[in-house]
Symmetry: C3
Subunit: 239 residues, 3 copies
């Protein structure tokens, strides 16, 4: 991840090496999960292979794209390095093969979770309980990246967390626009945008007080994760 | 308003001082009114506090944002100066407290207009007749600002009024996209876009003939206001 | 077309002169056809003159605008040269006069194809069989232009065809968003996006191997045309 190298304030220790690997792994899990859930939802909404690929791209990189267009940050990351679109394409093709076009979901209704194949499908395509856990971690990752890019672009700290929230959650908003639904994110439900905002705000505070690298990053990931999971576990909802 | 200072051709008189104050006042009334109507509509459409805040931002600064993205005018005004988002946030929080989530509107149906509190609510949240008057003035203000920015960005005069119309009315179009409705602005109704176009065109003519400052500005405000109010008063509608 | 001149590798022959004229003619037919179909669909969906003009603009230049915003290619072509908006305006006004607001289509149901006037209307407003032929040629033209601009903007060849597809077909996607419909392009149907992708990919291959000018251009037009027309003729659909 070229962009992560721009920080230039990594500690020269094993922990920092580990965190860099952790960041890269989480970011790619986030992209693959988003693309998977995009293609899954697209097929269930009756979209063909092309629509499913477009929705996969939108869910995976739509939030980051909107952020970069608002910030005027060019060139866009996924137009510079083909690795993003190629990864999403691979996930998309797998999803199109596994998930038939339908209104109802064949997978959630008929799959028996008794082998590795089904486990991977259900993990990647959103029918497993572990999805919520991993999704909560990626949510924090996107919030961190969006806020970080905003701050390094010179956006005032009071506004930077907004870019974190946009990066973390507007892929899904754009998806819902194409599905002709009022965005789920805007409706009463368990905290999602608020979780990413809390993490983004925590990171911004650490940035403002120049607290060195891993603190702000970890604060963002952990706080986003906690707010999200507590809201899911105790069904605390927005109003 | 930094941007207004860029004109550099104010008359050094009391009238020009007054106009500058007038402009600032109208611009802030326009932002607050737009945010108020956004949060009000959002709550009536069943959106939670987050959705209401997003819609408030979109209605208030969405048109100007689309204009600046089309013009490549960076950084975006509301990302540079936190005052915009903070003002919209305050309006949004007040609106979320006052307007409960519902399909029908409690305020319009139950409120008795017999005290100051109700008057302010009804003024800010769109149930008062005076809303149409103030909205018509803000419409002209946005048309003026959009056209002015377009012309100073080197957009040909034949196209500049289009940017005025986008600034004045596309916040509402974006709102309707998220509400999953064919934009009201595109449907037969009293002149709205046309009013802002008429004002923007008048300003562009004044600009082209280098008529000094307040004339074009006032022409834009007055013509937009007249076209809009005559259309409302005599129910002249588009076809 | 200034942009076409940037290639600088035209052959100095009559064929190249012919191709330049051909490109210009096809590009303008494409713009006029797109604007016509936009205004036609808008009127049938109950939009007023303003909505019809906006949809005409979106269908005609929306794909290219999205491409340029993603590429950060400023100023936008239709903001620099009024000829685009003026042409669309003329087509739009003719369309608004000829196509009354309605849910059903008066023209397709009542028109007897027995004079030149009706032939032109049916050709321009999408009720004629020749529409499919011309539309398939314009599809290739947009795919070519989008891919060409992406490659000259330094986009990697693996991604450039995506810009061709966006240019060729996202005007219609944006139209459907405002019509509150799941985009037709994303639903099972005859190949459209795939046809433009095939042409764009062919052009990208020619560009990568530095094959001189008309080959890649013609390959794009012909391959897009063939994929599209074979899919229409034999009703081969996406899945």
């Amino acid at each position: 991840m070229k962009a992560l190298g721009r920080k230039g304030h990594f500690m020269d220790t094993g922990i920092s090496e580990f965190l860099l690997v952790f960041q890269t792994v989480v970011q790619w899990i986030a992209i693959i999960l988003s693309a998977s859930s995009g293609v899954y939802d697209a097929r269930r909404n009756g979209l063909d292979y092309f629509g499913a690929l477009v929705i996969a791209v939108i869910v995976a990189v739509g939030g980051g794209t909107l952020r970069d267009i608002l910030l005027g940050r060019y060139p866009l990351f996924w137009l510079q390095d083909p690795i993003y679109l190629i990864s999403i394409l691979i996930v998309g093709v797998i999803g199109i093969i596994l998930v038939p076009i339908s209104k109802g979901s064949l997978i959630t209704e008929n799959t028996v979770h008794n082998d590795l194949f089904n486990a991977v499908v259900s993990l990647m395509f959103g029918t497993s309980g572990s999805f919520a856990l991993i999704d909560a971690i990626s949510l924090g990752m996107w919030a961190y990246l969006g806020t970080f890019y905003a701050l390094t672009s010179g956006i005032p700290p009071l506004i930077a967390p907004v870019m974190g929230v946009i990066t973390a959650s507007f892929g899904g908003v754009l998806r819902d626009v194409f599905f002709v639904k009022i965005p789920e994110l805007f409706r009463p439900g368990q905290f999602y945008a608020l979780a990413s905002f809390a993490g983004a705000a925590a990171y911004t505070v650490c940035w403002t007080f120049m607290i060195p690298y891993p603190t702000g990053f970890l604060a963002c990931i952990i706080i986003t994760f906690l707010v999200r999971m507590i809201s899911v576990r105790y069904n605390i909802t927005s109003f």
